[in-house]
Subunit: 153 residues, 2 copies
Amino acid sequence: MLKLTKKADYGLMALKYLAEHPETPALSAKDVADAYGIPAQLLAKILQRLTKTGLLRSHAGMNGGYALARDARQISAYEVILAIDGPFFITSCTRGAKSCELTPSCTIKEPLARVNDTIAGVLKSISIHDLADREHGDAAAARDRQGLVTLTV
Amino acid sequence: MLKLTKKADYGLMALKYLAEHPETPALSAKDVADAYGIPAQLLAKILQRLTKTGLLRSHAGMNGGYALARDARQISAYEVILAIDGPFFITSCTRGAKSCELTPSCTIKEPLARVNDTIAGVLKSISIHDLADREHGDAAAARDRQGLVTLTV
DNA sequence: CTATATAGGACCGTTCAAGTCGTATATTTG
DNA sequence: CAAATATACGACTTGAACGGTCCTATATAG
């Protein structure tokens, strides 16, 4: 429980891979799938979804494939997960939902909604660029050393 | 996705309810279930599990039931979720696991493991007491005002 | 002894993630 | 043009996990 779906995992891995190969104009779903040993057809659908939500740009035909629609720094893990898995909520009953099935009995939701927000905040603070090139001495590495994101719950 | 199971939800609600009724020596699973409209048998098994993990103390027979084994301040949401749903990990491949199926292809896991730790940290910082009595002017309310927990990612 | 509880195993239905298949369409290249 | 390569997309299958019920055994208060 509290798991990312494999699709979201695959999506993040694929975007990271694309971010690591900025020289190539486009990489096919098969290219990426082979690189990670992911089912190609499944990854294709994931990338199609990311294209529809505007995170990727696609090009059909030979030598076609996918490329990041924006700079890797401008794409957050949150966006990717949201695009693939849809909105996530820790609790069954959301704060936004007008009425939970157990209303008003479910008094637990308000505090947990804040946990939810915290998680979202963390995911928003992580970019595809952070996932890639973690070994280089850049912002991501600096974050490693002394902690960049500070959240208040 | 990234959802708590209903069982964990129920467990948190039940503990909160117990924390709100410190005067009664014990509340039966049925009492709590009725209070929230939760299936009694299901809740019973959840409470049994929490008893086995030491978060609750049980007493069979008439006027029996469950009571918190510790002060509500000393029981974290993390413990409850862990007891009910087992260890949770954001990614399929854990940092602890010696080899993920995709090793070494899954290069995404390290950054996400830190997200995982962050979430765990947030859940550890929330006690059953925080869930209950949120309206009273205590630590929980103070936390509302200016933020208590500060995490570094 | 009886009513009320916990304890716990067996079982079932539904849902959903994960993956496959098939087909239509676009595009490059020979 | 034709063939090869890709995206686009809907339908389908399979397996596991969640949510929930049922049944039985045991403990205990009155």
